[in-house]
Symmetry: C2
Subunit: 324 residues, 2 copies
């Protein structure tokens, strides 16, 4: 069983050793720019870890794991155009640094590169791998569509939101874990169960992101606090607050979100205060713990060796418990 | 050997029988809109025809053939955003009818659907099919990048242009033919040779499109004449004209293209007159005939049955000789 440090190093080495720059340079430069800044490489590490847990050779999973990460970065690139986001991981987004057309076409090319990597696998697994990846990619697109539609729809429920983040975020985490299982020849039942574990993990992961956006420590979280509040994003917190607020609290909540005369600082402070009054912070933590607990319970149902279980649980803790 | 009519009907039937509408409807509606208007379905017919020529069962090629057509339509959808095109096949483009974000995301989803169709093939062919499709998709993206860059680059040569249309247009025609060969288990040498034939056919096809844009019969061509002239598009005709023009002719050509005081009608008429003076119409026809001739010569090198050869030659004539 490999350590998380080793798995992370293996993925970093794979990306460091890849040449993403080709001709025409203006097409490939934004791709290299996107993939070199990297981020946490969480998804490909999950692929290697799962492959390792099920007794596979992680070297067989390196390219498909990279494919998952390249796909993830492709979706960020296109999402950033759609959301008109200026920054990603503290750097200018591609559509800002270059332009929207470049971001569209370099994104499309990244999507192809993702497929090229995913397809570099034992041919006997290829049909199953491709089915999983296609299914996941389609769901992620559906999730992004719901996310955009929810912005202008006043009738979104907490259940709608959970359905959306399942598609937009959780399925790719689940796909990574299942992909590792397939490449380790784990068999359909185990592959399906680790997928389900990934869904729970992914739900908790996104809810954690929502939570930290409101209640995180700006220095540790690495993002500005209150971004979701500033943009009236219909997160779990927002929707739960409107679900629970009544009377004067509902009036105040509505005012803070929709009165444009209120300064951004006053808005964030006012809404955080109401969230705390309504116990939204505690409720969100409970929801994260619930999904985390479901995932932990599932870990126990696999016949992993103890060191493997520990590594998986430790990665889940990294994703869900630590401040950053 | 099936007739062209039967192959076209088979493809039309496959698209008519496909449900492209799912939830969320605003994601899938533009996809159905794009795929139902259809166009000539040239590329999937080439896949079936090639499969048939090499003795395969066309039913094995229907889904991959649809995949090529869906991919083609995906590229049009994203190209139309990048070119800010208002119309496609006489209908509003997706980014005009809906908006750019919808066109980006519905396009991405179509790309996934294209892969889903391409992957519906005998698993023993899948690695080869996927390698071909990935390679083609990447080249088409590169071609589109060159096409966009050429717009603002004053130093484009005829050779640059031919390189660009090879990537943007010819490789997908070639991919269609090679895909049919692979699915008929034709063997690598034949698959490679029909690909080369497809490149020649594709080059002639794009040059023909350029030619008709200037010298076609508006009623038969189905597009407005002079669209390329109006937008100063650096086509084969434009680049050849600047290559050949000297003295007073060069001054007139430059004026017609770049003097904004000249009315669109006067511009088109003036440039067409200079094209004729310089023999650009004849030169372009010769270039089309040269590529067409290369392709015809290649047809003879295959051991197709006579009826098959005739069908292929007839489709090539449809693409290159008839007015529409």
């Amino acid at each position: 069983m490999h350590s998380l440090t080793l798995l992370r190093e293996r993925i970093d080495r794979a990306f460091a050793g890849s040449a993403f720059r080709h001709e025409p340079s203006r097409l490939y430069e934004p791709i290299a720019y996107t993939l070199e800044f990297g981020g946490k490489r969480l998804r490909p590490v999950l692929v290697l870890l799962s492959c390792d847990l099920f007794g596979g050779n992680i070297e067989d999973a390196v390219y498909p794991a990279m494919g998952i990460e390249i796909f993830h970065n492709f979706t960020l690139l296109h999402d950033d155009i759609m959301d008109n986001a200026p920054l990603r991981r503290g750097f200018e987004t591609v559509h800002k640094k270059w332009n929207a057309n470049t971001a569209i076409l370099s994104g499309d090319t990244m999507f192809v590169i993702a497929y090229e990597h995913v397809a570099r696998t034992d041919p006997s697994f290829l049909p199953q791998v491709l089915r999983l990846f296609n299914d996941t990619a389609r769901k992620v697109c559906e999730g992004q569509q719901y996310d955009m539609e929810f912005e202008t729809n006043p009738d979104i429920s907490v259940a709608d939101y959970l359905m959306m983040i399942r598609l937009k975020t959780a399925v790719l985490i689940a796909c990574g874990l299942k992909l590792g299982a397939i490449l380790a020849n784990a068999g359909q039942p185990d592959a399906d169960r680790i997928y389900d574990l990934g869904i729970e993990l992914g739900m908790a992961f996104q809810l954690r992101d929502d939570y930290l956006d409101a209640f995180g420590d700006a220095g540790k979280f690495g993002k500005e606090i209150g971004g979701d509040i500033a943009t009236n994003k219909k997160t779990f917190l927002y929707l739960k607050a409107f679900e629970k607020a009544t009377g004067d609290t509902l009036v105040r909540l509505t005012n803070y979100f929709f009165d444009r005369e209120i300064s951004p600082e006053e808005k964030t402070a006012g809404i955080l205060k109401i969230y705390r009054e309504l116990g939204i912070d505690e409720l969100t933590r409970q929801e994260i713990v619930r999904h985390h607990g479901n995932a932990l319970q599932m870990v126990d149902s696999f016949h992993f060796e103890p060191a493997g279980k520990e590594t998986l649980v430790s990665l889940m803790n990294d994703m869900l418990v630590r401040e950053k």
